[in-house]
């Protein structure tokens, strides 16, 4: 390729990268704003929005609500999704394919349509504003992500290892516990991480099934944005960004260490 078009391509990619990173680049400085305003660039420097996040009960309760819901979802969706991944990849090809298509539909159903349906059901069954209601809805939304992650690691998993283990006398449960699970663990763990994030970040269904007594963090962020220009939102965004980065970097480092040994 001629060097001129290479330079053009490089410049274009730089612009796309800026587009991709722009929100992150704006939110972080905004969280240290000295004024209660969302006008850019921020004026002055202060930690007050971080203080507000840690001291204002609106923020702390919604944060702990999200944490509780997301942790339960991560466990439940990972167990159910991993079982489903085994079902899909070990069933006959055609059944498996159909099952897989069925189980990933939550990813393509428009959020609002799903939300009004779930809202209708929850109104009848008194699940609006309950942890059970949130966990059920978020588990459904998280299953596809677990399924995809675990299935990916099952695809590279050599099934003859299971045969070998059972030929040496191991029962099916022992085979699963000592051979299969350790080998697909990276897939299961990343599925759990996806499930956690799906729940922790879910907003559309949450907006419908929330109540004044049970708000999740995204709902609190959304209401804060629509109500006034409060830079606490930027502080929350920055904290979550840092937390996610740390978890992912730790995961990568762990994966690299495992790969090396």
């Amino acid at each position: 390729m001629p060097s001129f078009s290479r330079i053009l391509l490089g410049l274009f990619c730089l612009l796309v990268a800026i587009l991709l990173l722009a929100p992150t680049l704006v939110v972080i400085p905004m969280s240290f704003n000295g004024n209660k305003s969302l006008a850019f660039p921020p004026v002055g420097f202060s930690w007050q929005w971080y203080e507000n996040f840690f001291s204002n009960p609106d923020w702390t309760t919604s944060f702990s609500n999200s944490l509780i819901v997301a942790l339960i979802v991560a466990v439940v969706a990972t167990v159910i999704g991993t079982l489903a991944a085994f079902g899909v990849s070990r069933a006959a090809a055609r059944t498996g394919g159909l099952l897989r298509a069925l189980l990933i539909t939550p990813m393509v159903v428009p959020g609002v349509v799903l939300a009004i349906g779930i809202y209708a059901v929850y109104l009848d069954t008194h699940l609006v504003g309950t942890v059970t209601g949130f966990v059920l809805a978020h588990t459904m939304l998280a299953i596809p992500f677990v399924l995809i992650a675990v299935q990916a690691s099952l695809e590279v998993f050599d099934r003859r290892l299971e045969t070998a283990a059972s030929s040496l006398g191991a029962g099916r449960l022992t085979v699963f516990r000592t051979v299969t699970l350790p080998l697909i663990l990276p897939g299961v763990l990343s599925g759990a991480l996806f499930a956690f994030i799906t729940s922790f970040d879910e907003i559309i269904v949450a907006l419908f099934i929330t109540s004044p007594y049970l708000k999740t963090l995204p709902v609190q962020i959304y209401t804060s944005i629509t109500r006034d220009a409060d830079p606490t939102v930027a502080a929350v965004g920055t904290l979550l960004f840092i937390a996610t980065s740390l978890i992912i970097i730790a995961g990568l480092l762990l994966g690299m260490r495992r790969g090396r040994t």
Partner: protein
């Protein structure tokens, strides 16, 4: 001694072969809990939406007649599709060269480019939309830069272009990743072969490389288009009264007007559009996928 050991081994292998032959039928049941969850929190709620759209307030297709007869609704429906098409087009224009660049650069630059695609996901979805409010507002970053350059500011917030920009940024990774994963597998020696036979670089690129990359383009485009159709938060926060999309109308009918029938009918229209598109695109993606594999 060896004979019995062998026999024992063979019978164990036979047994496990026997087991694995039986597993296919049994294995499907492992997915039962997941299917149950989907039935309860996906199929049943969607069923209720469809049911109410035909029965609330009266049995019949009144809600659909109302939907398609109202000029406002038709405008919003059309706008939803137009916005989805714009988002898909702009994403494609941004993603294609970017994904291509990812395949030709060195290891470190590639890592940086991949990070740029993944880092946006680390920011909470709602916060990302807030960031776009900050960027696009009248006193926002983009207008400050324009003023700094001596240009006149443009109205971006609460306009359709603003909505398209925000949605494109959110959905861009879903376009870049499938295209990149297909491009990664393209054998570039095919390009060299074409050039050695006298094709100009651009012609070789357009006639060999682009067709081979199409499965990724189709996959990315259909994902972005479908996700755009159902977008709710970004248009709700970045848009104004003249850029309302279908999702906001659904929400308004149900939560503000408590009109489940009409809201449901709109939802069903959105749902049907999504699944019709998926059904149309599925064979396209599959066919192209196998043919490209064969060619490669």
């Amino acid at each position: 001694m060896t004979a019995t050991h062998d026999e024992g081994l063979r019978s164990a292998v036979d047994r496990s072969a026997f087991l694995s032959r039986f597993r296919p039928r049994g294995a499907v049941w492992l997915a039962a809990p997941a299917v149950l969850v989907l039935l309860v929190v996906l199929a049943y709620p969607l069923g209720i939406v469809v049911w109410r759209s035909f029965t609330d307030p009266a049995v019949g297709v009144d809600n659909y007649v109302w939907f398609f007869q109202s000029a406002v609704n038709r405008t919003v429906l059309q706008r939803t599709f137009v916005v989805a098409a714009w988002v898909t087009l702009v994403s494609l224009i941004c993603a294609y060269p970017y994904a291509y660049a990812m395949t030709i650069v060195g290891k470190n630059v590639r890592l940086a480019l991949i990070l740029c695609v993944l880092v946006p996901f680390w920011l909470s979805g709602v916060v990302r939309t807030l960031a776009w409010v900050i960027l696009l507002q009248d006193s926002g970053v983009i207008n400050s830069i324009l003023r700094g350059l001596g240009l006149s500011p443009v109205k971006l917030i609460r306009t359709l272009p603003g909505v398209v920009i925000g949605m494109t940024q959110v959905l861009l990774p879903f376009m870049i990743l499938p295209i990149y994963s297909v491009m990664k597998g393209i054998d570039t020696r095919l390009l060299q072969a074409a050039r050695s036979l006298g094709a100009k670089p651009w012609k070789a690129f357009l006639q060999i490389y682009v067709p081979l990359s199409l499965p990724g383009v189709y996959a990315g485009a259909i994902i972005v288009f479908i996700l755009s159709l159902g977008f709710y938060i970004t248009p709700a926060l970045l848009g104004g009264p003249r850029s309302i999309l279908l999702s906001s109308l659904v929400q308004n009918q149900v939560l503000s007007l408590l009109n489940w029938g009409r809201g449901g009918a709109m939802g069903v229209v959105l749902l049907v559009a999504t699944f019709v598109l998926l059904a149309l695109a599925a064979p396209l993606m599959r066919q192209k996928h196998t043919s490209s594999r064969r060619e490669a």
